[in-house]
């Protein structure tokens, strides 16, 4: 572990974004992004299209000039440096393989630019092909490969010159689900093997949760929240994050007071307790959020945790989806909630129109 950790720290670049801005005409594509990306980390920029994640990546790569702010790689500002001097590996969404060059020549391209002698080049290219499980494909042209194979060649080309930083712009976006899941695991393995810093852009939250050490969720050109996948899922600080990552229920409530770190709020006559990073004032109108799979029917056999928050609801929709049952519920004030319950033949299914009480843990209730 010590050695791996040290290697990781040595091989990966650290990246600092300071108040980074990119304006196109009157649109702020990137609007004040500050982010510290650690050496050897797998960081994902996650967000919907137009959130500024790709613009941010393009500025790190050097293809876009920031309107304001600074980018430091290993403590040195690179804003004034052209892309070909930055020594960053990059994998594009459409792979951007050179169609007139063979796989070997594609992977050897960055080495050729760096004046690596031919014999050395052949050795490194063979190693890179080995790394992405494509030995023997060197003489083919990109058009003779499948999408997944092209993607691997693009990765091999991006790491063959041993950059300290690898940028990836939705590299799996064009592939089918099965292949995408395989390659996600391969990317993780590659990250562990190489020990370099990965900055990965995607709009797919599942992909981000599976692969990343940390995720920066972007919205409207700003970073909404940065944290580990668990942090973002269990403790979203932002309504957007709670809605974008996984499914969330939102309950409008009014703050009635604090009990240590726990917020006591009232939701249409019912008292609900929630965890909260800040200290809201009594009387504030707030939104509480919970995950559908963390709600339980109070009288259900599944309900193991001590019920702390309770709410009376009516079942408005019941869907059996194999491994789980999904219920649409309506609270007294008309708020809709989703409840997901692991399915079991031992559990009685709820009928539409049935009145029930649901309950869930305070730890799973977040004020956003």
């Amino acid at each position: 572990m010590g050695e791996a950790g040290m290697n990781g720290a040595g091989r990966g670049a650290s990246v600092t974004l300071a108040d980074l801005e990119k304006r196109y005409d009157r649109v702020n594509a990137v609007d004040g992004v500050s982010l510290d990306i650690r050496s050897g980390e797998f960081l994902t920029l996650l967000g919907p299209s137009g959130s500024g994640k790709t613009s941010t990546l393009m500025m790190i790569a050097g293809f876009e000039m920031p309107t304001a702010g600074d980018i430091e790689i290993d403590g040195k500002s690179v804003v004034a440096m052209p892309p070909y001097r930055r020594n960053i590996g990059m994998v594009f969404q459409n792979y951007a393989l050179f169609p007139h060059l063979t796989v070997e020549e594609n992977i050897g391209f960055p080495l050729k630019q760096r004046g690596v002698p031919k014999a050395e080049r052949a050795k490194l290219v063979a190693e890179a092909l080995e790394l992405v499980h494509l030995p023997g494909y060197g003489a083919r042209y990109p058009r003779q490969l499948s999408g997944g194979q092209q993607q691997r060649v693009a990765v091999a080309r991006a790491v063959v010159f041993k950059p300290r930083l690898l940028l990836m712009d939705e590299p799996l976006g064009a592939l089918d689900k099965q292949l995408r899941e395989n390659l996600q695991l391969e990317m993780r393995r590659l990250h562990a093997d190489l020990g370099i810093t990965f900055i990965y852009v995607t709009h797919d939250q599942e992909e981000a949760l599976t692969m990343s050490d940390r995720i920066a969720v972007m919205n409207d050109g700003k970073v909404a929240q940065v944290g580990s996948p668990e942090d973002l899922y269990d403790r979203p600080t932002d309504r957007f994050v709670a809605g974008f990552i996984g499914e969330s229920n939102f309950l409008p409530a009014i703050v009635r007071g604090m009990e240590d770190d726990i917020v006591v709020a009232e939701c249409n006559g019912t008292t609900i307790r929630a965890v909260c990073p800040g200290r809201p004032a009594t009387g504030d109108k707030v939104t509480l959020t919970t995950r559908p799979e963390r709600l339980r029917f109070t009288d259900s056999a599944w309900n193991a945790t001590p019920p702390q928050n309770r709410l009376s609801v009516t079942v408005t929709e019941a869907v059996f989806a194999g491994e789980r049952c999904r219920y649409m519920l309506q609270a007294g004030d008309g708020t809709s909630l989703v409840l997901k319950e692991p399915s079991s033949a031992a559990i009685q299914r709820r009928a539409i129109g049935e009145r029930a009480e649901i309950s869930w843990s305070v730890a799973d209730t977040i004020l956003v």
């Binding site: 293809f63 052209p82 070909y84 990059m90 459409n94 391209f109 760096r114 080309r157």
Partner: protein, 298 residues
């Protein structure tokens, strides 16, 4: 039998083949081009064929007109001048045109203006442009006056009615045929390839050498072929601004027609046509050029 198992009246024709309709559909494209095809056949192809036949059957069926060409000094010299002029003009167009095509593709807001400037010669008749060059290149033309004003020459130099004048005017006239196919090929290069090259450590010049230039070769091939083949048949421009002794094949053909020497004119025409076709056929087999034909069809 219940109603459900009975096939509905609509289901039958959908499943069954409809040979009559299918056959009709196959001939629709042919029918659409038929009027033009007949027009061209009657008014163009047949007269050309009749003309070419004169090289073989005037006065009787014979190959003597072709055999005679091998000892014909005038023909040999003319053929050489024509070929030489075409090569020079094509090279001139390539050297001047490639950077323009690159600029046209790179320019964003200026692109429409550049395109208009490139296409302007297209919208003016060759005759008018050749007259314009006579005015510009004459003894007291703009070029001579300008060179004298700059102190580069003392007396007017002879440009008009020299091979140089022919080359200058033909390059001007043929430039769009070189620029547009190259610009088309350049425009089809995925911009992310250029970014990728830059990100992988290639300076702008290395990116040009290793990515842009090779990927634009199909356009270069198409433009070169087009320019060269068009240059082979040029008549008005060399006749007007060229030297009196620098006769091209098409000028020689016109001369022979004037003298009602039909068989000789037809033989020369056949040779010119065959040369152009042979070049096109040979070029198809060059690597990269075959693709040019395919991409230009898209």
């Amino acid at each position: 039998m219940s109603e459900i198992t009975q096939p509905s009246p609509i289901a039958v024709p959908l499943g069954a083949p409809r040979p009559l309709l299918l056959n009709w559909r196959r001939y629709v494209p042919l029918l659409l081009v038929a009027p033009l095809l007949i027009y061209m056949l009657v008014l163009y192809a047949l007269p050309v064929l009749a003309m070419l036949l004169r090289s073989l059957n005037d006065p009787t069926w014979t190959l003597s007109h072709y055999a005679a060409l091998f000892e014909d000094v005038v023909f040999m010299k003319t053929f050489w001048i024509t070929f030489n002029t075409s090569i020079t003009v094509t090279l001139g167009c390539l050297i001047l045109g490639y950077p323009v095509a690159l600029g046209l593709v790179r320019a964003k807001t200026m692109a429409p203006l550049i395109l208009v400037i490139i296409l302007l010669p297209f919208w003016t008749s060759v005759l008018v442009r050749s007259y314009a060059w006579m005015v510009l290149l004459g003894r007291h033309g703009l070029v001579n006056e300008g060179l004298i004003a700059l102190g580069m020459i003392d007396r007017p130099i002879r440009i008009l009615n020299t091979p140089l004048a022919t080359q200058i005017a033909m390059i001007h006239i043929l430039l769009p045929y070189m620029i547009l196919p190259i610009a088309n090929a350049l425009r089809q290069i995925d911009p992310s390839l250029i970014r990728a090259a830059s990100g992988l450590g290639a300076t702008p010049f290395m990116t040009f050498r290793q990515v842009i230039l090779p990927l634009s070769m199909s356009g270069v091939a198409a433009g070169t072929l087009l320019t060269f083949v068009l240059a082979l048949g040029f008549y008005i421009t060399p006749a007007m601004v060229g030297g009196p002794r620098d006769i091209t094949l098409s000028m020689l053909i016109a001369q022979q027609v004037d003298q009602l020497n039909w068989a000789y004119a037809a033989t020369l025409s056949a040779v010119l046509l065959a040369t152009a076709l042979a070049i096109l056929a040979a070029a198809r087999h060059l690597p990269g050029v075959g693709n040019a034909f395919k991409t230009s069809m898209r």
